[in-house]
């Protein structure tokens, strides 16, 4: 038995060797190399400790997904179930379920502990070490149980995983007595909660595997019929009426993945609002907002990897059985992405509004100086402008990523990831800077990393304008005109132009100094060009991908 367990451990580790090398060695090494440079370059406005923490999380996420992917190779699908050849090993089911999860837990927890010990001055108490190990183990075991087929419908998976995450968050909060108002038993309750989550995760992994091994009919299905009535999810009995192929493709894109964006953001919003109702700290709410932002940015990858654009996917049968033009295939994806982003955005902005309603406005904030002298009209203009700009940023980031990924090339994928990371750092950096920066709007704007980057490198923005103009000219030429005509692009151009005009009017109504106003206007022109670019790029990407 020991030999077989060793063989099983070897298989899991050997299959994961690339992920382990990247997660355990390459990322920490790169971080070590960059640390000096980063400290000099961005240390002024980004606390280096937080960047280090973010990189550690990235590495942990990488390790987790690597283990998760390998251990869920299935008999029929690459991303679901348990590797069936392992089921044929003469080992008890509990060993089969515990060994891979325990290994994943040990690797992830050891990595976190190692990182904190090496890269920070933070001293870890025994309780902290226990918490880290338990959280890693509980999360890995529960997510594996869900992946291995504990319950199949997507909605149930999301709800269950979010419930587990909520349970983990509350347990950790109780252990560390964040509110400093809990009872003396707070630590005990938190620890018990973690142990319960950890053991139940392992138990459900075992149950799931046992069911798979015996091929019995044990079902663990949550009845969430009320959610089905929302018509967000595939309905098995009612058939939709399609007016044509394009409308059918819209339905397909929405039902297959686009609905996940608002669904996820919506569920996080509910958790956030409930948390604020129970008096959770603003930091936790802010963390949730960051999580939602990440989900937004990831949405592009979700959408593009759905059929077109993923190397795992054989594009042939999908395109061969959808007699639609390249433009229609691209536009159905973009339109449904837009619908998903807009609905999700409504959830997104509801969180701060409802949280402020529930827990009230901050008593004194650093930025209050900046707004105390602003009139109500200007405040409303600023608020509307911010809402439009944030929506435009989310759309531009998601849709451009999606449009590029539709090309299905490794180079484009790397460019996309790099661009995303860059945008993410810039975006978070700007938020962190604005949050803690006193002074008037102009001073804050000028000192922000986004402003610095663009003002020092004006060619970055010129590239967008030039690229957009060149692409528009290209669509006048026969090879591109065959993909999409200007009349097909007109509607999308008009929507972006309307957004731009409204935003410009709002900026000018703020009566900023000429230089700041000009910079903001120029940035808006570029932002809305970026919003329009996916409609030019996506059809080209699809055409290049489809007709290789």
């Amino acid at each position: 038995m020991v030999l077989m367990i060793r063989a099983l451990l070897w298989e899991v580790l050997y299959k994961n060797r690339l992920g382990l090398t990247i997660g355990l060695i390459i990322v920490p090494l790169v971080w070590l190399l960059l640390e000096t440079y980063l400290e000099k370059a961005i240390g002024d406005f980004l606390p280096i400790g937080k960047v280090s923490f973010a990189i550690m999380l990235l590495s942990v996420l990488f390790l987790y997904t690597t283990f998760s992917y390998v251990d869920t190779n299935s008999k029929e699908k690459a991303n679901e179930g348990f590797p069936t050849h392992i089921l044929r090993l003469p080992l008890p089911t509990w060993v089969l379920s515990v060994v891979p999860i325990l290994l994943g837990t040990v690797v992830v927890a050891s990595f976190i502990l190692m990182w904190i010990n090496v890269f920070s001055d933070f001293e870890l108490s025994w309780l902290m070490q226990f918490t880290i190990c338990s959280v890693a183990g509980a999360f890995i075991s529960w997510s594996q149980a869900i992946n291995w087929g504990l319950n199949t419908p997507m909605i149930q998976k999301v709800v269950l995983l979010l419930s587990v995450i909520a349970g983990l968050v509350f347990s950790v909060l109780a252990i560390f007595d964040i509110d400093e108002s809990s009872s003396a038993y707070s630590k005990l309750y938190g620890s018990l909660g973690l142990i319960l989550l950890l053991l139940s995760g392992y138990f459900f992994c075992f149950i799931t595997l046992l069911r798979t091994r015996r091929s019995d009919n044990f079902q663990f299905r949550l009845e969430l019929s009320f959610l089905n009535r929302l018509r967000l999810f595939p309905n098995n009995t009612k058939l939709a009426n399609f007016s044509n192929g394009l409308s059918a493709q819209y339905w397909y894109e929405w039902k297959s993945l686009a609905y996940v964006i608002p669904l996820t953001i919506g569920l996080i919003s509910i958790v956030e609002i409930v948390a604020s109702m129970f008096g959770a700290e603003r930091k936790i709410i802010l963390m949730g907002v960051m999580m939602m932002t990440t989900v937004f940015l990831m949405s592009a990858h979700f959408m593009a990897c759905n059929k077109l654009g993923s190397e795992k996917f054989n594009i042939l049968p999908h395109c061969a059985t959808r007699p639609l033009s390249d433009f229609d295939l691209a536009i159905s994806k973009l339109n449904m992405l837009a619908l998903g982003v807009v609905i999700a955005y409504l959830f997104f902005i509801s969180v701060p509004v409802l949280s402020i309603y529930i827990i009230g406005l901050p008593e004194t904030t650093a930025s209050s100086n900046a707004i105390e002298n602003i009139s109500l009209a200007k405040m409303i203009s600023t608020l509307i402008l911010a809402l439009i700009v944030f929506l435009a940023i989310f759309w531009a980031a998601s849709a451009n990523g999606c449009a590029i990924l539709l090309r299905d090339s490794k180079l484009m994928f790397i460019l996309n990831i790099t661009g995303f990371m860059g945008l993410g750092v810039l975006f978070l950096g700007s938020i962190i800077y604005f949050k803690g920066q006193p002074g008037d709007f102009e001073t804050v704007l000028k000192a922000s990393p986004a402003y610095q980057l663009v003002s020092e490198n004006p060619h970055l923005l010129s590239l967008i304008v030039t690229g957009a103009i060149l692409l528009l000219i290209a669509f006048l030429l026969p090879p591109f005109r065959r993909i999409a005509s200007l009349s097909q692009l007109r509607t999308y151009g008009l929507i972006c132009a309307t957004g731009l005009v409204i935003s410009l009017v709002l900026v000018w109504s703020l009566e900023l100094p000429t230089k700041a106003s000009a910079f903001a206007s120029y940035s808006l022109v570029n932002l809305f060009l970026l919003c329009f670019l996916p409609f030019l790029v996506a059809p080209i990407s699809v055409a290049k991908n489809r007709h290789r």
């Binding site: 397909y252 999908h318 007699p323």
Partner: protein
């Protein structure tokens, strides 16, 4: 096959390279409506690459591809609207039920016949409310075949569809489907590794080897013209190897247990005059099976068979 105006497929001088490997090498192929074309060849011979060109999924690097008189790359919607397609691994969305999938697919094709689609699905005896992901590979292939037929396509493209089907389904359902298409005056292009199936179903055989068409002829002609002559050792030595090699349509010569097996692609009349001119005495003569013809034309198969 090449004379009429009603060509539904017209491929001329088509070549395609992948990493300096010639997947297709100067292919010419014309298909009229009402034909069943069987494409055979060893793995990597270029069958799927050719079908991808017909679907507009590959752009012609050299030469031209025309389907229904249109370039499938520039007119994907028009061309694919008239094609029914099923591949070895049909990409059916697992989250849909069969009913949803058929309803979804119906929106794409103007010629979709609901009652015909319903009959096709009924013939599979599958529950239409079952999710596709819960079906076996063979059941999924049958659903894919129903969807490929339900709009009564002018051209049915089947890329090794039999791989996931059991012999009964292969023999009855697939053959019936193809016959229905042909009886309506429509066409089928069918690639397969099952040579008995190709022999039974197809009117015209196209054999690929290393990206080239090594044989393209009506099936009846292929079966009638390919023969094996059995010649005794003494007779072979008397006539001489150099004279045997001059025989028209010679494919290969193989020695087996003291006898020589000479494979030829030749009509009876030509064979008679050739043997007369050499005064060649033949022990026996028989027609080749499609398996033997395949091995003759595909060198890699000879190596596999240890010949």
């Amino acid at each position: 096959m090449q004379s009429a105006d009603n060509l539904i497929i017209n491929i001329q001088g088509l070549s395609r390279e992948f990493d300096k490997h010639k997947a297709l090498d100067n292919i010419d192929l014309q298909v009229e409506s009402g034909q069943v074309i069987g494409i055979v060849g060893e793995n990597g011979a270029g069958k799927t690459t050719l079908i991808k060109h017909l679907l507009g999924l590959y752009r012609a690097e050299q030469g031209s591809v025309s389907v229904f008189g249109l370039d499938p790359v520039n007119n994907p919607a028009e061309v694919l609207g008239k094609i029914g397609y099923l591949s070895e691994q049909p990409d059916l969305p697992g989250w849909m039920t069969i009913a949803q999938y058929m309803n979804y697919m119906s929106a794409f094709y103007t010629g979709w016949d609901d009652s015909y689609a319903s009959n096709l699905i009924k013939a599979t005896s599958l529950d239409i409310n079952k999710k596709i992901k819960s079906l076996s590979k063979g059941q999924q292939a049958r659903v894919g075949l129903c969807a490929a037929q339900a709009h009564k396509p002018e051209l049915l493209l089947l890329d090794e569809p039999s791989s996931g089907l059991d012999p009964l389904v292969r023999k009855e359902i697939l053959s019936a489907a193809i016959r229905t298409v042909v009886d309506d005056g429509r066409s089928v292009v069918f690639s397969s590794h099952f040579l008995d199936e190709v022999e039974r179903i197809c009117d015209h055989l196209v054999m690929f080897s290393k990206g080239k068409i090594v044989l393209s002829a009506p099936m009846s002609e292929v079966l009638e013209h390919h023969k094996i002559l059995i010649i005794g050792s003494d007779e072979f030595k008397r006539v001489g190897n150099s004279n045997i090699e001059k025989l028209p349509g010679l494919l290969r010569v193989k020695e087996k247990r003291g006898e020589y097996l000479v494979s030829l692609n030749i009509s009876d009349d030509l064979l008679l005059s050739a043997t007369d001119s050499l005064s060649l005495k033949i022990i026996d003569k028989r027609l080749m099976t499609l398996d033997e013809i395949f091995v003759c034309y595909c060198p890699e198969q000879q190596a596999v068979n240890g010949e």
